[in-house]
Subunit: 188 residues, 2 copies
């Protein structure tokens, strides 16, 4: 049984995704949870607090995952495969929350916004370093690491939107297909 | 020398991209063009008309490009390469306008919105058919065509945002790198 607070976050993630943070009111959230709007405030301070919690929870999962992979003794190509798994797993397990990290962070308050973009930049830097290692250790061709990063990340970012319309695919199969499309290549 | 109308569209595309359609006022557009707000109406009827023109202009370029490529006598793999070129070329030549087609179409009026999503769906169907031909004619491995489509399109959709921060790269080089990343594969 989920706690009231967990229900609030779950409903908020779904609504923020569907209507955006700005287009969602505390009243909408209360209605989704099935409580009076006033009683929401027994559990959370504000809509901003909900956004903050949702975004930093997901960002934390990505950051922890990245650190574990980055610090492991795997070779860089294996690390990339693990990163793709991480994105697939988080998109499958936290579809709504992951879907809002792309657009809705702009509505964080200034200090939180800076902290958030800092986390994102660090994440991207570590991702790029692994791609660079793939190139310098001969796993990859001599491609532009910026373009390879951008190509992989953009696909991973759209994963949630594709996945929510195609839930019949297993996450194992999805992971295998993503590695094929993103790393190995489509061409025979 | 650009006409006043062309200047209005150019400034609007830049502002819609930066602040969104909703966050941009006719006053902002007038200021960007360097005229009085009232005199904008000598050239266009409304902000909605500007959005409509910008989106359908770009959609038309994609649709025409797709039809030429799709109907050509090229093999499906060559067609895909041409589609990547089309996306690179439009992202390079119309960076601001291309950048708003992803998010801002939701602000079109109902009838226009339906027409617009119809164009998009047809475009994606034709794109998928070419990928399916690549698989059935043996150019590609037996991948899930939906995932391959999504993987390629999502990268192409983020191209404009990456390109606007990395303008020093030539479009020829960018095209080559995109084909390598998206079709041939990164792995050695």
């Amino acid at each position: 049984m989920k706690s009231k607070k967990e229900q609030i976050f779950e409903v908020s993630a779904r609504l923020f995704r569907k209507r955006g943070y700005v287009g969602t009111s505390m009243r909408d959230i209360a209605k989704g949870v099935g409580v009076e709007a006033a009683s929401l405030y027994n559990h959370i301070k504000s809509k901003q607090e909900i956004l903050h919690e949702l975004l930093f929870d997901v960002a934390g999962r990505f950051t922890t995952g990245m650190d574990e992979i980055s610090d492991s003794s795997l070779n860089p190509l294996q690390k990339l495969e693990k990163l793709i798994s991480l994105h697939v797993r988080l998109a499958v397990e936290h579809t709504d929350a992951v879907s809002i990290i792309i657009g809705e962070w702009v509505h964080l308050e200034e200090a939180a916004k800076n902290e958030y973009t800092g986390l994102r930049d660090t994440y991207e830097e570590k991702f790029k370093a692994i791609i660079q290692d793939c190139i310098s250790e001969g796993h990859f061709k001599q491609v532009n690491p910026e373009i390879a990063l951008f190509s992989i990340l953009s696909t991973l970012r759209w994963l949630y939107s594709w996945y929510s319309r195609n839930r019949e695919i297993s996450s194992v199969e999805l992971e295998k297909q993503m590695i094929e499309c993103l790393l190995v290549g489509l061409k025979k």
